[in-house]
Symmetry: C2
Subunit: 275 residues, 2 copies
């Protein structure tokens, strides 16, 4: 990443996700990099990505990146594990600014955290089936053992707001049963929705297992990249963020405020060029 | 509906849904109208519809209808409660063949079934919020009292195949708690995914409540319309069905065979004209 340059560090950072999940990355930016300005695009008209094909997710990711490029962004963050798992190569080839996904930072953080080299991965069907986390982990250390499990219902649970209580607990116990007895000491929350379920997942896995939130690791990595390449915003003006969606802005605002634990300003609906 | 005519009864029936759910209508066609030929389109590249806006669902429905019209169909069936709830008027204006949704037949069947004029409706957020079933029921009898409840997680449960067992039971008990004490004697399963959960819903609601499956009622209504207007297929050739999707044909085949309880032939991926 040594050849990264920022022509104008005061431009905003572009972030997209299939919907509200990527706001977990925004929350981390607000905490770790409060001076940065963001343009967030939630593809609510076409979510979820986790059950779609590799070809379609790649196409959607390229369209989203093109939309954000029109806002003159300095860096692209793919705040969606599914798109990060399958579309980073296509994106990096097509866009002329630094692009960062959540998979690589999450995998690095897990490799640093594990003591017994046994790492669990949970995510959507597409993320788990892509083997993206496993590939990065194996490249870091061939000794690392991976146990992966898709947990598709976690997304619906988070969207429904049922993040605690008996239903969440029973679903977590069902999905995580094998992981609990697998001997892992580190578990990657490989979907941006899952941090909302952190308490129930932590409780189910028990104290000996460290949970890795890709959002946290991704923003730490963004911070290092921008710091190294003199890309951090230094404008004294207060940042003005933009939130865009492809459908149902009101619902995004409502669910999104739960994700961010704070108010979201106006959410604008945009039309995508899908040709 | 007296002005309905069929120029050629041997043409296929076009059916669309946001994904696999509409196969519950196909299953009924195979049983009630085994001589009919169908072209089914599952919009798997853009599902689910239940959380999208009225404008977007209407746009998608019109695009799906245009796709099916290219296959020279004699009748259009909207096998999706969400699209049937918000897009039938727009569809009827735009297409020159008979179009039938699942809402009206489901509401009629419920009105016939109830004895105490208290009817429950469960469905997606979009269907319940549209008030579509309530409007038809009130037009049939202003005395009918309706109690409606969105149950969004039921769709994910059906897709995941968790249609029985403790998780399904607990979610059903949570969603249906108010309906159980509301005094309804009839419950409309207002989403084509829900018939897969019939046993757990029946069990939760108890013996006194009749469940109305819109698919069954819709195909009975199709049968009457075609019979009245001499539109039933009379070709001695065995019908050849077509299954089309907008993404991930393999996944459609896998989940779809669970819906149909029988094998599905080749599933073809088609491109939609979204301009």
């Amino acid at each position: 990443m040594s050849d990264i340059t920022f022509n104008n560090p005061n431009l905003p950072i572009g972030i997209f996700d299939s919907g509200v999940g990527g706001l977990s990355v925004v929350r981390e930016i607000f905490q770790q990099l409060p001076d940065e300005e963001i343009v967030y695009f939630g593809d609510t008209g076409r979510y979820p990505y986790g059950t779609r094909s590799v070809e379609l997710v790649t196409k959607l990711a390229l369209e989203n990146a093109a939309l954000l490029m029109d806002f003159n962004i300095k860096m692209l963050v793919v705040a969606c594990n599914t798109a990060s798992s399958v579309a980073m190569e296509a994106l990096s080839k097509r866009i002329p600014i630094p692009a960062l996904g959540v998979v690589r930072p999450g995998a690095y953080a897990a490799a640093r955290a594990t003591r017994n080299a046994k790492i669990g991965i949970i995510g959507t069907n597409a993320t788990v089936n892509s083997g993206s986390y496993q590939k990065v982990l194996k490249s870091l250390s061939p000794n690392i053992e991976c146990v992966a499990r898709p947990c598709p219902l976690f997304v619906s649970l988070a969207e429904e707001g049922w993040t605690i209580g008996p239903v969440a607990k029973m679903i977590a116990e069902t999905y995580l049963a094998d992981l609990r007895v697998s001997g892992i000491d580190t578990l990657i929350l490989g979907c941006t929705h899952y941090p909302l379920l952190k308490p129930v997942i932590a409780n189910t896995m028990g104290e000996g297992v460290t949970l890795i939130d890709s959002a946290e690791a991704t923003v730490a990595q963004m911070s290092r990249i921008m710091d190294d390449a003199e890309g951090l915003r230094n404008d004294s003006k207060k940042p003005e963020h933009k939130f865009l969606v492809s459908d149902a802005p009101d619902r995004f605002k409502e669910v999104g405020e739960r994700f961010l634990s704070q108010k979201i300003p106006d959410v604008f609906k945009v039309a995508l060029d899908t040709r």
